[in-house]
Amino acid sequence: MEALLPKVRPVPAASERNAADVTALVVAHASVNAEYRHLVLHAPDPAPRAVAGQFFHLECPQTDRDKPFLRRPMSVYKADPRAGQVEFLYKVAGVGTRGLATLACGHTLRMLGPLGIGFSLARDWRGIVVLARGVGLATLAPLAEMAAARGIGVSAVLSARGPAQLMSVARFTQIGARVDTVFDSDGSSAPDNVEAIMRRLVDGGRADAFFTCGSNRLMLLLQRLGRELSVPGQVAMEQQMACGLGMCFCCVRNFKVANAVISRRVCWEGPVFDLDEALSW
């Protein structure tokens, strides 16, 4: 059954992967809102061949105030092999991202990638539902485009604190996605309402699979619905990383497979995992 492919998909060996540590050039870098920044880089191969759900490990600049020691993982927000570009959408959260935020056009950035396993789309799917919040948008926006390119319809439910925090809506509407927005500010992001929207999308035949990222609460909601309504799903997860290459075992998360709890490396076996196997974090 191709719809179940994520579950049985073998983890690709190192020889089937193609990461490289490249020096990329900043070509645009701007604030999206008070917290998020959008970074566009010109990067040599293989970086622009990243697929939705994959990530890069970024060497964040040191500043007088901040001395990030480790690299920081960032999902690819857009990758364009023809233009030779890679984009990120990130939240200024701490030491590393504050350093990143100081990059100006013309500066360079070392980045390792593409890393990890991206989203999978089964050939027989006709519609997918994407539920995103916060940073999750950065990860799911390119998935919507990938789906559209394969003729799969996309319904996106985008959750945010308020309209000012909403991002990337155009990325979804441009590919013809049906977009629902829900907010904390007007109460529409409450679980009951999100669940109702999801059920309507499933009832409307739009949900051959669920995709989510960015919120533990939404992940659990979608997992419960997926089990009840027999909709498969994928979730992109985060974890603190050191190497990004499967070497250090820092980035593990727990998954429930059959009756056992197993740990998997987010950077190597993920960051995209089967929704049904994911455990709360």
Binding site: D21, C248, F249, S263
Partner: protein
Amino acid sequence: MVDLRVKIGALSLANPVMPASGTFADGLAQIVPFERLGALVAKTVTAELRSGNPTPRVAEVEQGMLNSIGIPSKGVAHFIATTLPFYRRFKSPLVVSISAPSADAFADLAAQFNLPGIAAIEANISCPNIEEGGKAFAMSPRATDAVVARLRAVTGMPLWVKLTPNTSDVASVARAAANAGADALVVANTILAMSIDIETFKPRLGNIVGGLSGPAVKPIVVRMTYQCAKAVDIPVIGCGGISSAEDAIEYMLAGASAVQVGTATFLRPQAMLDVIEGIAAFCARKGIAKVSALTGAVGDADMAIDALEAVP
């Protein structure tokens, strides 16, 4: 052309640079041609399945990182079936790192690696010894002697013993390991450390404490390398905070015959290649024909010591 070859006992390495256990795996093959490394050192393997420690397992500090991975392991059978065949594809010698909770268990495990395609066993005796209330073997000369002697009895392989820096007297531990039959020492594992998030009041590691590695530990472990190299006649392999050729050379001058690179690979995956090239360039510039001439070449004999003498 500089001769980069070094000997670790009977074993010849094409150059003195290899990864540190637990900071190296197949994933790096995308970036680093493994044939160019002096040796390949696998992640420590235990006899049984082990899950490792709770997350978060990593935290960054100034010029270093803390880890509390805790030696997750899929066990010896999986290692022999899967990991070994992978590494055997490369011509660089393979060093298998092992860990066990008692001297007997160490010996049982080592005996299972008397296999072709393995160049040396690295006994990671920085792990807790259940017979000593969980203190690491390498914290005491006595426990070190006991475990190394047992290992020596069951394996004819080159036996490297990896020491812990968390000890009062690393030279005595080094002597104990050498006397019990170690062929080389790896100095050293990580230094026990801790970091607390002052906003949340939580330890930054799920395991509360973890091991410090990276540039911050270098001066401490260079000192230990110097002490160990003075204390024993077997080769010492330096490991701790090496991220450049300069660092590697400093370790060799202090007495190391070869070096292991760990954390630096996380920051720059090609770090080991840079270290190899940098050592060759340094030797060429200094007119040093063989890199092995650096080992122990620190000029500590003829130090100009001031005749200081205090008066009120």
